[in-house]
Symmetry: C2
């Protein structure tokens, strides 16, 4: 949202995956789409979704959301060279848990332990390594306004 | 250093490894010590150095330096429970490169590409996942004094 305010095109890698799923008639559930994404990585290589994302990039003044691995970063680096900046956002598990719990309906409660298990699963593609080697890291422990301000600052630094 | 000023015991996991190497008569080079550390992980499990570190912990008012994987975090969590806080420090590869280049002697220069290769190697134990799931994240892009101030703030929050 902030990126589109700044007149930057935003490409969500999740959308690239979901649109491909839809084109193939895959049911749009987390499990079915995730399974298709996984099989495509096994068949075409771990950076397949990055390569398909690059095909849609109109220029290098874009924000790509949803990077999951250093293989994907390598693909974007090959395409965009020094114009690429990797921006990570971090909040502690406890803070993320508090935020999720606040939004949750009573019949759909996730425990802190379940969040921990899900986190470990989602890190299996190598997202942790992307964060460790990111060019900018936004610590998101404060208010939404703090986060917006930090994001604006990074967008200004990256895009001038 | 900041932790010892705050009257906290500091245990460096690297020292635990080096002392074990020394006790066994292993040559104290990065390669030989690293090889020994690696073999011990394969024989005794990925958290062996955490378990040996715990044996030396006088209390839970300590700072443990050098965590490398979520297996080690799990070992510390089992020992210290909710008293455990994981603190990560992040600087971008470019910032770290500038700092290294500044301190380097002319005959011992590492290129930015070599740093990238070394980083990927050092992340193989899962340090990125530790950073991703850390309780506190200190962004170290500013001056040494900025970093000290941020560290003091975290130590105060953790130890009261």
């Amino acid at each position: 949202m902030m990126a589109s305010q700044a007149n930057l095109a935003v490409i969500r890698m999740g959308d690239v995956v979901r649109e491909e799923a839809s084109r193939r008639g895959v049911e749009i559930t987390d499990e079915a789409v995730g399974g298709m994404a996984h099989r495509e990585r096994e068949i075409h290589g771990p950076d397949i979704w990055a390569r398909r994302t690059v095909e849609r990039a109109p220029s290098d003044r874009i924000v790509i959301d949803g990077i999951r691995s250093l293989d994907e970063v390598a693909c974007f680096r090959e395409t965009f060279g020094d114009a690429l900046s990797v921006v990570a956002v971090h909040a502690s598990p406890h803070t993320r848990y508090r935020r999720i719990a606040k939004r949750q309906r009573r019949d759909d409660v996730i425990t802190e332990e379940e969040l921990r298990v899900r986190d470990r699963r989602e890190l299996r593609w190598g997202l942790g390594e992307v964060i460790a080697l990111s060019d900018y890291l936004i610590v998101n422990e404060g208010t939404l306004e703090d986060f917006r301000e930090a994001t604006r600052r990074v967008l200004r630094e990256v895009f001038g």
